[in-house]
């Protein structure tokens, strides 16, 4: 069992049942498209909702979150929702995060647009799950990505930084480990996430209501909210880039590699730096993942033996070893 298994299965089924390939020569008939749409409509119900799978519950428990959690409504961070419709301003620290899935436009050549839509939605829903699991707030869904806040009035800054890093690491893991190989087997190269995260301290962030009357949102004005999407676009494939403020909270150099070019020049001699975040090392160090013989990550919070393991699957590794005993006798 795997944390994102249910999302992955929906994507798998959507891809396997896509009519595009089998109808390549004749072209897709309207009836084929229609039955595909019907199929996907019911498949969509297999995406996890508020009810969590056993593995998801295990993670929720391990992270101190209730087993059925309510997804926070989009748009307004609950701690600042009172600003809605007012012209008040509050200064309060926040972590802003941007993550999206860069998917090849080739998806549209291989699948119907209904299939592409369900693939996208599954990834978005899995990401929203990971954000909510780690105490974050999805502020906005944009295209193939999310804008997210971590932090608030009842949480310590360091804890919020750790939550943000865990959450984005899990999403990066999902796409890199669970989905990438599957898509490559199906002829889709290079599907990957990119993410950016930065922390603005209280003096650096204004919370306010932006808009007129009902049509507006509670949002932040901060250099660091603006830098996060720039870091995201600088990230390598499957990479997470974070701002200097994040690194000074965590104080663990081993996870951060400073990029040669700064993300912001204050034009007074000071520069604000950006860092590549080693999320794979972070997941393992925080007991959220283990590594197999090849060093490949497997996301798990539970280190008790898997009840569904089968010695057949262990044989190829175990049979490399043939032990001998000669202690106590020369």
């Amino acid at each position: 069992m795997n944390l994102f298994e249910d999302y992955k299965n929906v994507i798998k089924k959507a891809v396997e049942n896509d009519p595009t390939k089998s109808n390549r020569i004749l072209g897709l008939s309207e009836s084929a498209l229609e039955s595909n749409r019907e199929y996907l409509k019911s498949l969509r119900n297999e995406l996890p909702g508020r009810e969590l799978s056993p593995e998801m519950k295990l993670f929720a428990k391990g992270m101190g979150v209730p087993e059925t959690f309510d997804y926070q409504p989009l748009g307004s961070h609950p701690d600042f929702a009172y600003l809605k419709g007012t012209d008040l301003v509050e200064e309060h620290w926040i972590i802003s995060g941007f993550i999206d899935v860069k998917k090849s436009t080739k998806l549209f050549n291989n699948f119907t647009k209904a299939t592409v839509r369900l693939i996208t939605e599954s990834i978005i829903r899995a990401s929203m799950f990971a954000v909510n699991l780690c105490g974050g707030y999805v502020h906005r869904i944009q295209g193939d990505g999310l804008m997210v806040y971590f932090g608030g009035k009842n949480i310590e800054k360091l804890k919020a930084v750790e939550d943000a890093l865990k959450s984005f690491s899990m999403i990066s893991y999902f796409v890199k480990n669970d989905l990438k190989d599957f898509f490559e087997e199906n002829g889709i190269q290079d599907i990957h996430t990119r993410a950016g995260l930065d922390l603005g301290h209280s003096k650096q962030v204004d919370w306010f209501y932006s808009g007129i009357g009902e049509s507006g949102e509670v949002t932040t004005c901060s250099l660091h909210t603006s830098l996060a999407p720039k870091m995201q676009s600088n990230a390598k494939n499957s990479g997470i880039v974070v701002g200097h403020n994040i690194t000074t909270q965590l104080r663990k150099d081993k996870y951060f590699e400073q990029r040669s070019k700064e993300i912001h020049d204050y034009e007074d001699g000071r520069k604000y730096h950006q860092y590549n975040f080693d999320w794979e090392r972070y997941l393992v160090d925080n007991n959220l993942a283990v590594q197999n013989d090849m060093g490949v990550l497997v996301l798990t919070i539970n280190i008790t033996p898997d009840p569904n393991r089968n010695s057949r699957d262990l044989y190829p590794i175990a049979s490399k070893s043939k032990p001998y005993f000669n202690y106590g006798q020369k």
Partner: protein, 224 residues
């Protein structure tokens, strides 16, 4: 030379296996890596975890076999599990390890191909009651088994003749009848085995020779 190469290989190992870190070595002249082995099968299902210590001889690397100590004491300190009282794991028969040592090891490969499989095999044995690829018998019998499996040799006299030739370095006419077993041409017969045996190093071969001689006497006595 050994030192720079070891430095490089340790860095590369730690960059790939995040559950390990370098610690102060309890044994002088050695570098020590401490961490967790998570045994996952080919379907990435978890079987268990071990905390281990890997000790690597600094001066001899890569021509050395790391010492592996199981610290969690999950593995019962019992010779049926190929582990010493102190937790030192017996990874393989010395002959195979010696060959690796002569060729030189690469830390990551050694972890993947020898250390990790040793712990996977422990779980395999616990689950199925036998090792995946069998095991060597203990002590001398295991050595005899090795010669049988690796070279197809059953006759102790034959093995002794081979070992004596290898240890002494005697050269025979390559195109004449094999003086060791009577086969047609020496170069097509036992010479290949002599060449292969050299890979284990003189020390091990002398030890084996003494053991076979000793046990040959014993069996002779029994049969008389």
């Amino acid at each position: 030379m050994g030192k720079n190469e070891l430095d490089k290989d340790i860095i590369s190992f730690l960059n790939n296996y995040f559950a390990f870190k370098e610690v102060k070595s309890p044994k002088s002249g050695y570098r020590a890596l401490e961490g967790k082995v998570s045994v996952l099968d080919r379907k990435n299902k978890l079987w268990g975890q071990f905390e281990i210590l890997i000790l690597i001889n600094e001066k001899n690397y890569p021509y050395t076999i790391p010492i592996v100590i199981e610290k969690t004491e999950i593995i019962k300190r019992d010779w049926d599990f190929h582990i010493s009282k102190e937790g030192e794991c017996c990874l393989d028969i010395p002959h195979k390890l010696l060959k690796m040592k002569k060729r030189g090891i690469v830390l990551e490969e050694f972890y993947r191909e020898v250390i990790y499989p040793f712990f996977a095999n422990y779980h395999y044995k616990v689950a199925t009651d036998k090792y995946a690829n069998g095991e060597y018998k203990h002590h001398f019998k295991g050595i005899a088994q090795f010669y049988q499996e690796e070279y197809g040799l059953n006759n102790y006299g034959n093995i002794i003749a081979l070992l004596e030739t290898t240890v002494s370095g005697i050269k025979y006419q390559p195109n004449k009848q094999c003086p060791l077993c009577g086969g047609s041409k020496y170069k097509k017969c036992c010479r290949k085995k002599v060449y292969s045996l050299r890979g284990y190093g003189l020390d091990q071969l002398k030890l084996d020779l003494a053991l076979f001689k000793e046990n040959n006497l014993k069996t002779e006595n029994i049969s008389v």
